[in-house]
Amino acid sequence: MILYELYITEKAQKQLDKLKKKAKIRWDAIQELLKKMREDPFIDTLELQDPLFKKLRRAKTEDDRIFFQICENCRSNSTIMKLRQCIDCADIPENGIKIFETDVRNNVYDKHKKR
């Protein structure tokens, strides 16, 4: 099985780092989600259809959302490629996934700490 390679924007990485420090349970849930995305980013994720964010996909944990693009989907659609225009497109392989946003704003602490 070919695994997808994950790439992340600096901004999304900072959001994740913040979560790791302050909400380990939520961070763990996201790590689990990322693991699944590496194997199959189509399962349990949905594709946005509105003109601005078209073809971006959203994955969810109980508390947080991740917005990403499957690079091969972008490259197969010239309209989407024109919309995204990622500067590093040539450096990311066909099995790449780019994570643009980890929406982890909602009170960046775990709701329930494990005892």
Binding site: T9, E10, D50, L52, C86, I92, D103
Partner: protein, 200 residues
């Protein structure tokens, strides 16, 4: 209230204000939303999802008031005297396909706007007061004690016609009705145009 119900409320509220073609305050907006939801409910159509109680100025909904304030704070409708802003209109045009697919709900709003949006607030309040209480049709809204329910949102039922939103439309609307997320996502996409990503 589910996320789907809440998003439907906001989208229909924006549409109501756009279709009315006349800016209006909270009181008038409450009456028009009440009349629209009443007409939907009569046809077992689950569009607006507000509970209304009777107050001095007629039908009032706490959730509707919250939505009005939220749309103002999101910059989607103007403050005090409400009408959609350019951003509000942008959302309506972006999601026009949803509205067209659910046109029977729009028909109810259009009819209410045609019949009542041109009226002065006080005249509209009087007309609504003289209407029968949809929850207790043997009495008028005027004769209903203050604080009592006069319209309740429909619960999901098999024979109801429900405002249709797909999962991806819900996900998109959640972004558009969340300015912070919308701006952040746009900024992230812009960042990707000038900064390379790193391997995770």
């Amino acid at each position: 209230m589910t996320s789907e119900e809440s998003l439907t409320n906001k989208l229909l509220l924006l549409y109501l204000l756009e279709n009315a073609e006349t800016p209006m305050g909270d009181t008038k907006l409450h009456k028009l939303a009440f009349l629209s939801e009443r007409n939907m409910n009569f046809q077992a159509e689950k569009g607006f999802n507000y509970n209304f109680i009777k107050l001095e100025w007629g039908p009032f909904s706490t959730d509707l008031k919250k939505d009005i304030d939220e749309l103002v704070n999101l910059g989607l409708i103007s403050r005090v005297v409400h009408s959609p802003t350019d951003r509000g209109r942008f959302i309506l045009s972006t999601f026009n396909n949803i509205l067209q697919r659910n046109s029977s709900f729009l028909d109810k709003i259009q009819k209410v706007n045609r019949d009542y949006a041109h009226l002065e607030r006080d005249e509209l309040v009087k007309i609504v007061h003289d209407m029968e209480n949809p929850e207790k049709p043997w009495t008028t809204i005027h004769n209903t004690p203050k604080g009592k329910y006069i319209l309740k949102r429909l619960n999901y039922a098999l024979d109801d016609k429900i405002f249709q939103l797909t999962e991806d439309e819900i996900a998109s609307l959640e972004i558009y009705f969340d300015q912070e997320l919308f701006d952040s996502l746009v900024a992230s996409l812009e960042e990707a145009k000038c900064k390379p990503a790193v391997v995770l």
